[in-house]
C-alpha cells in the first residue's frame, strides 16, 4: 500500500474548499463506507475508487488526487449519489474535480484525435455530452 503523507506541505485546504464550493456538497460527512465504489460501473476498469477520492478530497491531498482517474472516467451515471448513506451527491464532487482541471485549460479529450470513422457513427448527444463534460 502506498504511504500517505499528511502535513502542511501535502494538504491544500484551498483545494478542499474549492471542491466544496463547486460541488455544493459537504465532503466532510463521508464516512468511507465504500458504497459509492461498490456501485460505480467505472471503478473496476479504472482501478480508481470514488471512496478514495472522497478521502483525498477531505484532506485536500492535491498530488494524490491528480493520480486518480475516476473523476475523468466518471460517466455521471449518478448511481453513487443515490446510494450514498450520508446523502452526499458524489457525482457533484466528481464534477467539481473535473471543473478544477478544466478551469486550468486542461482538456480531458481532444476532439481532433477522435477517429473520423467514430465521428461519423457517434450520435450527436454523445459528442455534445463528452465535450461538455471533458473539454474546457
Amino acid at each position: 500500500m502506498k504511504k500517505l503523507t499528511i502535513n502542511d506541505s501535502t494538504t491544500s485546504w484551498q483545494l478542499a474548499d474549492k471542491i466544496r464550493e463547486i460541488s455544493g456538497e459537504n465532503i466532510n460527512t463521508c464516512m468511507q463506507c465504500g458504497t459509492c465504489s461498490a456501485v460505480c460501473p467505472m471503478f473496476q476498469q479504472s482501478g480508481s475508487p470514488p471512496r478514495l477520492v472522497m478521502a483525498l478530497a477531505q484532506l485536500g491531498l492535491e498530488d494524490q488526487l491528480a493520480d486518480q482517474r475516476i473523476y475523468k472516467v466518471c460517466a455521471s451515471c449518478l448511481y453513487c449519489g443515490v446510494r450514498c448513506p450520508r446523502g452526499i451527491d458524489v457525482p457533484r464532487v466528481m464534477e467539481a474535480l473535473r471543473q478544477i482541471t478544466l478551469r486550468q485549460n486542461i482538456d480531458m479529450i481532444h476532439p481532433a484525435q477522435i477517429p473520423e470513422a467514430d465521428m461519423r457513427e457517434l450520435p450527436t448527444i454523445a459528442l455534445v455530452a463528452a465535450f461538455r463534460k471533458l473539454t474546457a
Binding site: E21, I22, S23, G24, P41, M42, Q44, Q45, S46, K72, V73, C74, A75, S76, C77, L78, Y79, G81, V82, D89, P91, R92, M94, E95, A96, Q99, M108, I109, I114, D118, E121, L122, P123, T124, I125, A126, L127, V128, A129, A130, R132, K133, L134
Partner: protein
C-alpha cells in the same frame, strides 16, 4: 388538445427510427404531439457544478419555447433530453436564487419559473392513455417475444425526476411491454450505466460497463433489449461488434409501432443493427 414535443438533435439524425415510430404511434393512438416550432440542443447533460449556470441556458430556453406554445406539458422521447430538461425545469422551479440570475441574464426572453411539466413519452402514454387502453389498441401483440427493459441512468436518476415512482425497481417499461403482448424479462442491470459519453474518452471502461449490462440481459433469456436512448443504442447496439455478446437491440417506440400494426417502413429498421433485423425476420415481422 395537442401537446408540445421536443425532439432534440439525435432524433433528427442517427435515431430517426426512435422518433418516427413514436410519432406515428402517437397519432394512431389519437395523442397529438406538435413539435416546438423553434428549438435548440438541450446540452445533452445537466451541469453538476454549483457555480456554472451557463450550461443551463440551453435547456431553459427550450422550456421557454414550450411555455410560449401555451401547453402545460412538454413531451420528450430521448432519455438524455428528458433528463436534462426535467432537471433544468426542477431547478427553475425550486432554486429561487439561480432562477433569478438566469432570468436576469436572459433579459431578451420572458421570465420562466418552471411552469411547464417535462414528461417522457412513456409517462405520457401511461397518464394520457393508460396501459389497459393501450392493450386494447394493440392489433399485433408481440406474443412470445422476450424483451429486456433497459432504463439506463437517465430515466430514473436522480430519483426526483424518475419516470417511475419506484426508481430503485422501476416497472414502467415492463408494464408497457406487457400491454404490447410481449414478455418482459427483468434483469439486475436494467438501471446500470451503458458507459455513456465515456465511450469517446475511455472506450475500454465504457464498453466493460456495456458488456455487464448486455450479459445481464442475456442471462434473463431475453430475445431483445428495449432502449429509449440513442447513446445507449450506440454503446449496447452498434459497439457490440467489439464485445463477445450478441443480443439484438430495439427502441421501445419501434416495438410500439410493431404492436399497433404500423408498416415496417415507419420504423426505419435500416438504422438498427443487423442482428435486430435478423431476429425480426425470423419472427415473421415483415421488413421492407
Amino acid at each position: 388538445m395537442a401537446t408540445s414535443y421536443y425532439p432534440g438533435c439525435t432524433l433528427k439524425t442517427k435515431a430517426r427510427n426512435l422518433e418516427v415510430a413514436a410519432l406515428e404511434s402517437a397519432s394512431v393512438l389519437g395523442l397529438e404531439l406538435v413539435e416546438l416550432p423553434r428549438w435548440n440542443c438541450c446540452g445533452a447533460v445537466y451541469s453538476l457544478a454549483d457555480d456554472n449556470l451557463l450550461n443551463l441556458l440551453a435547456p431553459v430556453r427550450v422550456l421557454i419555447r414550450a411555455l410560449e406554445q401555451g401547453n402545460d406539458k412538454l413531451v420528450t422521447i430521448c432519455s438524455m433530453c428528458y433528463n436534462t430538461l426535467a432537471r433544468a425545469n426542477r431547478m427553475m422551479r425550486e432554486d429561487l436564487e439561480k432562477r433569478h440570475t438566469i432570468n436576469g441574464f436572459m433579459d431578451e426572453e420572458p421570465d420562466y419559473a418552471g411552469e411547464i411539466q417535462v414528461v417522457h413519452y412513456l409517462d405520457f402514454l401511461r397518464d394520457e392513455l393508460g396501459w389497459a387502453e393501450l392493450r386494447k389498441r394493440v392489433t399485433n401483440p408481440l406474443q412470445g417475444l422476450k424483451v429486456a427493459p433497459y432504463y439506463g441512468c437517465t430515466l430514473t436518476r436522480p430519483y426526483e425526476i424518475s419516470l417511475d415512482p419506484r426508481p430503485e425497481a422501476p416497472t414502467i417499461m415492463s408494464d408497457f411491454l406487457e400491454a404490447l403482448g410481449a414478455t418482459p424479462t427483468d434483469f439486475p442491470h436494467s438501471t446500470t450505466c451503458c458507459g455513456s459519453y465515456q465511450v469517446l474518452a475511455d472506450p475500454q471502461s465504457a464498453l466493460a460497463s456495456a458488456e455487464n449490462v448486455l450479459g445481464s440481459a442475456i442471462s434473463s433469456s431475453a430475445d431483445i433489449l428495449a432502449l429509449s436512448c440513442p447513446l445507449c443504442e450506440y454503446n449496447l447496439g452498434l459497439r457490440q461488434r467489439d464485445l463477445p455478446t450478441d443480443i439484438p437491440t430495439i427502441f421501445f417506440s419501434q416495438l410500439l409501432a410493431m404492436a399497433l400494426g404500423l408498416g415496417a417502413d415507419l420504423c426505419h429498421f435500416e438504422l438498427n443493427q443487423v442482428n435486430t433485423r435478423k431476429l425480426l425476420r425470423e419472427r415473421d415481422f415483415p421488413l421492407p
